[in-house]
């Protein structure tokens, strides 16, 4: 499936097209806002089209995860190659992109949400060029994280997102935007420097063979094949790090269930958990969400939060299956705490946006609980929930934005009786809210059910406790609907207009996905089934089997 244009593969196009768009946007003349908007929209629409191509040509029977042979749309090039000296080995870093059933879902989501975010940015007036340039740069960072298969490259993309996000919140945000922006920046950087150290420790702990053409072979393969000219080097290749045979005996992270392996796992975990965000690393999220402009909230909730859980599934679990099993219960516990805590705090909110922010924490808790179950069912629920949460929460934030644009307040108690005033709005909002609380027939139900079913097989008590959340969620969600739509319409809101065409387009397309996947989730589940099966196998048996073999 090597489809390419000008010798550049489809994944590179998807990743770097926004940067090209950014350059174009920056070169456009000042005072042509329409041109800037349309350029950004064109870029993201092409991205969506490419994502549709991926969806069409993606081979559902290939697992990926730890084997490069079954990764799809792979692109590989030599990037950095520093020849070794007697006291320091050769540094060889690959530009390696590829997707499997885990990442394809996230790539689809990213393309979709970026496009929606651009459409919802139509009303932005302040320093338009700067705004869209940063938004497109952010898009590249997000896409890159989901397609990179080399830890160094992954880290680059991961960090590239920080700065645009800081400015997008800090310049175009609400009244406390400076505080929210720096808090987001500091929290995320704290997590990423820990990740950086874990990455370096992994680098020095693993080695592989490289042939003169630049192809990597695992230690086992290299020894078996006996190709001449093989050289032993350290590597940042994520897939090679997943092979326990590649760890240098006696190195920091060699062996299983050692202190340093746990430490590295925890370092990675903190890096990812801050992004999810998992209790107790969540405090940046409500601030960031409340202050961010609507499109940025949409991206933040729709894509950025998923990077945390994606990172765990892509990196932490397959590289440290032993540590993952060791900390599985703790991970599930944090997931459950996030679920319950997020729901309880959401219930107490009177600020519409803050409420949605806390509901996000609660819903991401479900993802973590599903992942921690380690079985295919739970993991499928988790990944599906990542996608669904992306679409549903994007809708929720758009809904908040629509109301805020018109009323310039987010105080829930100030509204009432909007049902007749804004009927289309009420329809969209009802779909989104019922999907968020997990009503059967809408996509949120399927993924939550799968997550909880999977989790119940592994952690019965925790899962039962977590079920409380469903009631709580229904409680606060319905209460919002009641406060906004029912009762009498205050006089000051008599002038509110219903959704315009642009808003309807955004919300309706997301609603269509939510409804379709609620009724017929198979297309999405088929996409990830094979890969997550393989991942579950690695997490459940990885390390242990080799240990037994060695003993």
């Amino acid at each position: 499936m090597a489809s390419s244009l000008f010798g550049i593969g489809i994944l590179s196009w998807m990743t770097f097209l926004p940067v090209l768009g950014m350059v174009v946007v920056l070169m456009l003349p000042k005072g042509r806002p329409g041109l800037t908007r349309w350029t950004a929209l064109a870029v993201t629409l092409v991205q969506v089209a490419l994502a549709a191509v991926l969806f069409g040509y993606f081979d559902r029977s290939l697992a990926g995860i730890s084997s490069q042979g079954t990764m799809q749309f792979v692109e590989k090039a030599r990037w950095i190659d520093v020849q070794g000296v007697s006291w320091f080995g050769r540094v060889h870093i690959e530009y390696l992109l590829g997707i499997d059933g885990l990442s394809v879902v996230m790539v689809l989501l990213t393309a979709l949400i970026s496009c929606v975010a651009v459409i919802s940015s139509w009303t932005i007036e302040k320093s338009l060029k700067g705004y869209f340039a940063l938004l497109l740069l952010l898009d590249t960072g997000m896409m890159g994280v989901f397609v990179a298969l080399d830890f160094f490259l992954f880290y680059m993309f991961w960090e590239v997102m920080l700065l645009p996000m800081y400015f997008l919140i800090g310049i175009w945000g609400g009244s406390r935007r400076e505080y929210a922006a720096i808090k987001f920046f500091l929290y995320t950087l704290l997590g990423s420097v820990l990740m950086l150290l874990a990455m370096l420790a992994l680098y020095f702990s693993t080695n592989v063979y490289i042939d003169p053409a630049g192809t990597l072979y695992s230690i086992a393969e290299g020894a078996k094949l006996g190709i001449p000219g093989l050289e032993k080097i350290h590597t940042f290749n994520l897939l090679q790090m997943m092979d326990p045979g590649n760890f240098v005996p006696g190195s920091l992270l060699a062996g299983f269930n050692t202190f340093w392996r746990y430490a590295a796992y925890v370092a990675l975990f903190i890096g990812f958990a801050i992004k999810v965000p998992l209790f107790p690393f969540h405090t940046w999220l409500p601030d960031a969400h409340v202050e961010a402009p609507t499109p940025i909230s949409v991206i933040l909730a729709g894509v950025l939060l998923k990077m945390g859980t994606y990172g765990m599934l892509r990196i932490s679990f397959p590289i440290f299956p032993d540590a993952m099993r060791h900390f599985a219960w703790e991970l599930a516990l944090l997931g459950v705490i996030s679920m319950v805590y997020g729901a309880l705090v959401a219930m107490a909110q009177t600020d519409f946006k803050k409420l949605i922010a806390y509901s996000s924490i609660s819903h991401m808790g479900i993802v973590v609980l599903g992942m921690a179950s380690m079985n295919t069912q739970g993991m499928m629920g988790a990944v599906f929930q990542m996608f669904n949460h992306g679409t549903i929460t994007a809708m929720l934030f758009l809904i908040v934005g629509v109301l805020y644009d018109r009323a310039h307040t987010r105080g829930l108690n100030e509204f009432g009786g909007l049902m007749n005033q804004m009927p289309r709005y009420a329809g969209m909002m009802t779909v989104a809210f019922f999907a968020a609380l997990g009503l059967p027939g809408l996509s949120g139900f399927v993924s939550e059910l799968l997550s909880l079913l999977g989790a119940f097989q592994t952690f019965q008590t925790l899962t039962i406790i977590s079920a409380v959340t469903i009631v709580l969620t229904a409680g606060y969600m319905l209460w919002v609907l009641q406060r906004v739509f029912l009762g009498t319409l205050p006089d000051k809101w008599k002038g509110l207009t219903d959704l315009n065409a642009r808003e309807t387009l955004m919300l309706a397309s997301l609603a269509a996905i939510v409804i379709f996947l609620g009724i017929y989730p198979a297309p999405m589940l088929n996409l990830m089934n094979t890969s997550l099966n393989a991942l579950s196998g690695i997490v459940l048996h990885g390390g242990a089997g080799t240990m037994m073999g060695m003993n």
């Binding site: 950095i80 000296v85 006291w87 800090g170 704290l190 420097v193 950086l196 150290l197 680098y203 920091l252």
Partner: protein
Amino acid sequence: MAEQILNDLPRLLPEVTLTATMLLVIIVDLLTKRSAVIPAMIALLGLAASGALAIGQWGVHTTVFSGMLAVDPFAVFFKLLIAGCAVLVVLFSLGSSELNNRERPLGEYFALLMGLTLGMMLMAGANNLLMMYLALELSSISSYILAGYTREAADSSEASLKYVIYGAFSSGLMLYGISILYGLTGSLDLAVINQTLPSVVAGGGTAVYALAIAGILACAGFGYKISAVPFHFWTPDVYEGAPITITAFLSVASKAGGFAMLIRFLKVTFIDPAAVAIPAGAWATLQGFDWHYIIAALAVMTMTVGNVVAIWQTNMKRLLAYSSIAHAGYLLMGVVVMSNEGLAAIMLYFVIYLFMNLGAFYVVMLIANRTGSEDIEDYRGIGPRAPFVTVSLSIFLISLTGLPPTAGFIGKLYLFAAVLNTQGWVWLAVVGALNSVIALYYYARVLKNMYLEKSELTAPLTFSRPQRALVLLLVAPVLLLGIYFAPLAQLAQASVKIFGTP
């Protein structure tokens, strides 16, 4: 003897060229009063010639003048770095209003700058304690005058005086340490000291204590030059008071010279040639004085104090002063691990640091030329008024923080890698990594003032074409080396060859 000296002279050509340039600048300045451009051109040509001659020394691996000076790839690397820094500072000086708006011509300034550069180049090659001391003094005395060059400004004189007092005090301490070492070993030549020390230490008793005291006293001298905590007190005042061009030069070249000297002193003097069974490229120090922990403590203190105190600064120059203290702390991590990998990381970091730190100072200078202020509060809303230079400044600051895709990240990556790859120092890497989070806070404060804050002033700030070109020249490597750093890493690895060590 005389023949020996004549034979060695060609090896000294970069330094000789620089000396000649200094004299030429003085003479030309006497003849053509009131022109800054001609002396500057002569200085640039001299520096270029000196750099070219230094490149010609690549691959040489010897000492000259009976072991006084080493000519090895390590020295050549630092000479080029210092010469490169001097070239940029001369260019900066031509555009500096604080220097050019004065009655006095600039000829003398450029002559002193050459002297300062010469002293630093000698520091890079000094292989004898006496030579080290002389090189240190040559560079210090030139910089005392330069720090107070705008002596009409009160803070400039104060800076200069503080600098002299601290400088005299620490070089006194260092001299005392040197005299103890001489007393113990009977020599000032690093290689000879290295051969004699084991028998001194073997004697045990007071000799070991004397050695420890000598080591700590010598550290005072080096620590002063690289502004490591607790020898850093002069740094913020001098950096704030000195003309900004000199501040920029001191923050990069002076540190580079200090580090070169410290590394050579440690490695050549204290390496244990008998130590075996350590990984390739690492080395062990002689028994008697444990350098590891002393330097690790210095590193931790330096980066933490630098970063934490920087948070409270309101003046851009002071902020960058503390940030440069913090960077000395990061760089010291590369010394702690006592391996070639650590040294290569330091050298790689210095090249990147040259661009990002000089770049930051240059933009601060350009803005100060226009607004007359170095106060961070006066950066409010300046972003839209001067988009090109403020975006550049943002890139420099992000690079100083160490975020990809800028070169600063690659520098930190190599330093952390060197630390993590040495057993037992994981905690140091964690301290370093957390420090870069603290650093983000104060760098981001500048970004916040530039872009997030509003200002009633909206008039655009304009800069001349050469000024923008120079900014671009500094920004380009910061971005390019962040994405493709292989040649730089190769150069750094090839330059870790110190005469007298395996």
